[in-house]
Amino acid sequence: MREGAIPIGLSYVSDGPDEMEQLRKSLEKEQRRIQIRRFTKNRGSVFGLAVVTVMVMLAVLAPLICRYDPLALDTVNRLKGSSAEHWFGTDSMGRDVFARVLYGARISLTVGFLVGITTGFLGVLIGLYATTNKVADNILMRICDGLKAIPSTLLAITLMTVLGADIKNVIISLVVVSVPGMARLARGQAMVVKEQTYIESMKCLGAGKTRILWKHIAPNIISPVIVQVTFVFASSIITEAALSFLGAGVPAPAPSWGNILNEGKGVIYTAWWLVLYPGAFTALTVLGLNLLGDGIRDFIDPMSN
C-alpha cells in the first residue's frame, strides 16, 4: 500500500493510478470467475457445450479423420457391419457410413448454423421495424401469425417442393419457417425496451428515431435473441433431417443425417447401423444445442429459474 492511502474496509482509496488500475483488474477477474462458475455449475450446459464442440470439430476435421470418401462406391463390401476397416459399417452401395456421418455433420451443422444466424438477423430486423409503425406492425405480424399457423415441417416441405431440392433452398425454407417466431420475440422485447425511461431520455437528448431503434433498443434485446438462435439452430437440424428423410431436403448422393437415415430405413432389419449412427448423432447434437441454449439463458439472466 502506498503512503497516504486511506484504508477503507478490504480495499482502499489511493491517489495512485496504478493501484486503482490493479484493483479494477482484479475486480474484473473476479467477476469473470463468477460468471464462469455460474455457467459450469450447470452440468447440462457444460455437457451441451462439449457435445457441440466435439460435433463441430468432427465436422471441420472430417477429411483428416476419415479414410474413405463418403461418395466412393464399393459394391463388393455392401451392408457390412462394424469392422476395423469401416467403424460404422457400410451402406447398401458399400459407402463408408462413418465418413458419411461425419460429412453429413458438415451439411447438417452448416444448414442449422446458417438458418440460426439468418433467422436471428431477419427476425430482429422485422421485429424492430414492426415497433416503429402501426400499419407495418399489423401487416408483418399477421403474416407471421399466418406462417406460424401452418405446421413447420409441412410448410418446409411445401416450400421445398416449390423451390426444388437444393441445399440453398433447404436453408431458405427453414428460415421462412423460423423467422416468424424470432420476429415475435424481437418485437415483444423491443416493445418493453421502448417504454423504458432511458429511451425517453435519449429522445430528450435529440436522438432520431432510427438512431434510437438501432443503437439503443437493438443491443438491449440481443440476449434473448441469442438464446433463441441456439434453439432455432437445434430445431433446424431436426427439420432438415426430417426433410431429407422424406426426400425433400438435401438431394442425394450428398450425405446429410436425414439422407443416410432415409437410405437406411429400407434395410433396417439387416443393417441397423445405417439408422443408428446418423440418428444418434442427430439426437446428441440437438440435445447438446438445447442444453447449451438453456445454459446461455441462465448465464445471461440468472433470475430465469
Binding site: T197, Y198, I199, S201, C204, L205, G206, A207, G208, P219
Partner: protein
C-alpha cells in the same frame, strides 16, 4: 434583469383520450432568464412535468397530445419547428434530467459511452475528441477517477453517481436551459443535498437557465430565485422566492407553506394538510379551480375564473381575494 432565454406564452397541452380531449395544461405563461434557477412546485398531478415535457415537445403529436400557445427559445417558436429541427434543440439547447437515473441510463452501454453519444448526436466531432470531452464532463460533475468510471456500466454506480452521470449527459452539449424533473426524489437526503449543490454550481458556472421541478419546498427555498406554483394545469402564483415563502398570497400557496413541518412544532401536533385532493381533469370545477378546497372561497370564487394578476413588481397571483387576504399567512 438578465436576458430572457425561454418564453412560454399561453401554453395549452391537451391529451387525446377515450373520453375526448383533456386539458392537462391550461394557459401557462412564464419566462426563464439566463443564469436563473426557476422552481416549479405543486402537488402530484398539477402539470409540472407535463409543462416541462411540452416545452421539449416530447409527447407524440400524432396520437397523444395537442399543443397550442407558444414556446419561444430566443425568438424561435418551438411549436413551428419540424421534428428534425426539434431534435437539434433537444439535448443541445434544452436538456432534461429525470427523476430515476438508473432507468434513465441505458444498461448496455458504459456511462462514458452515453456521454459520448450525447456529444456525437449534436456535434460533428471524432470519437477521440468525444471521449476526452466525456471524461472532462465526468470530472466536471464531480466524479472521482473519471477515466476509470468512464468504462463502468450504470448498475455499477451508486444512485448519486448515476444522477451525476445523468447531469453530465444533459450538460455535455452546453445547453442554455436545463430542465430538472424531480432530480433528487429517488435519492437519500445527504445525496440529495450534494446533487442540488451540483446543479446550483453548474447553473452558476455555465450560466444557463434551470427549471427545477419538484415538490420539495425546502429545496426550492434554498436554491431557486423565482418560483411558479401550479395547481391543476394553471399557474396560481408566481414570484421571487422571498415573496412566495414570506408573503404567499394564494390560499393554495399558503396551504403548501403551512404544510412544511417545523422544528418548533409540538410533539404529537398534526401536520397541516390541504383538505381534499386534486380533482380529475375531466371534472374541473367551475370558477376558481381551487375553490372546492379553499377555506376562504366565496360566491364569486365558485362562478368566475380569476385571472393571473400582477400584485407587485415581481409577484403575480390568480385569486379574487388576493387583496383582502394579503395579511400575514395563517
Amino acid at each position: 434583469m438578465a436576458e430572457k432565454i425561454l418564453e412560454v406564452e399561453n401554453l395549452c397541452t391537451q391529451f387525446k383520450t377515450e373520453r375526448g380531449l383533456l386539458k392537462a395544461i391550461d394557459g401557462v405563461s412564464f419566462e426563464v432568464y439566463r443564469g436563473e434557477m426557476l422552481g416549479i412546485v405543486g402537488e402530484s398531478g398539477c402539470g409540472k412535468s407535463v409543462t416541462s415535457q411540452s416545452v421539449l415537445r416530447l409527447y407524440n403529436e400524432k396520437n397523444l397530445a395537442v399543443y397550442s400557445g407558444q414556446v419561444r427559445l430566443e425568438d424561435q417558436n418551438l411549436f413551428e419547428l419540424s421534428q428534425k429541427e426539434m431534435q437539434k434543440i433537444r439535448g443541445a439547447r434544452i436538456s432534461m434530467v429525470f427523476q430515476d437515473a438508473l432507468s434513465s441510463l441505458n444498461p448496455v452501454f458504459t456511462v462514458g459511452n452515453q456521454i459520448m453519444e450525447a456529444l456525437m448526436i449534436h456535434q460533428n466531432i471524432s470519437k477521440k475528441e468525444a471521449r476526452d470531452k466525456a471524461v472532462e464532463m465526468l470530472r466536471l460533475v464531480g466524479i472521482p477517477d473519471p477515466e476509470g468510471r468512464f468504462y463502468q456500466y450504470p448498475f455499477e454506480l451508486s444512485g448519486g453517481m448515476r444522477q451525476r452521470v445523468m447531469i453530465a449527459v444533459a450538460l455535455a452539449c452546453g445547453p442554455e436551459i436545463l430542465i430538472a424533473d424531480e432530480p433528487t426524489t429517488a435519492l437519500d437526503v445527504t445525496i440529495q443535498a450534494q446533487i442540488m449543490d451540483l446543479i446550483v454550481e453548474m447553473n452558476r458556472k455555465l450560466n444557463m437557465g434551470v427549471m427545477l421541478i419538484t415538490h420539495d419546498l425546502a429545496v426550492v427555498a434554498e436554491t431557486c430565485h423565482r418560483v411558479l406554483v401550479m395547481y391543476l394545469g394553471q399557474i396560481v402564483e408566481e414570484g421571487l422566492v422571498e415573496d412566495i415563502f414570506d408573503r404567499p398570497l394564494h390560499p393554495y400557496t399558503k396551504g403548501l407553506m403551512a404544510s412544511i413541518p417545523r422544528l418548533d412544532s409540538q410533539k404529537g401536533e398534526k401536520l397541516h394538510q390541504i383538505k381534499g385532493t386534486v380533482p380529475v381533469l375531466g371534472k374541473i370545477p367551475e370558477g376558481c379551480r381551487f375553490a372546492p378546497r379553499c377555506p376562504y372561497a366565496g360566491a364569486e370564487c365558485r362562478t368566475k375564473t380569476p385571472e393571473l394578476k400582477k400584485i407587485n413588481e415581481s409577484q403575480k397571483v390568480r385569486c379574487h381575494l388576493a387583496d383582502t387576504l394579503s395579511a400575514p399567512c395563517a
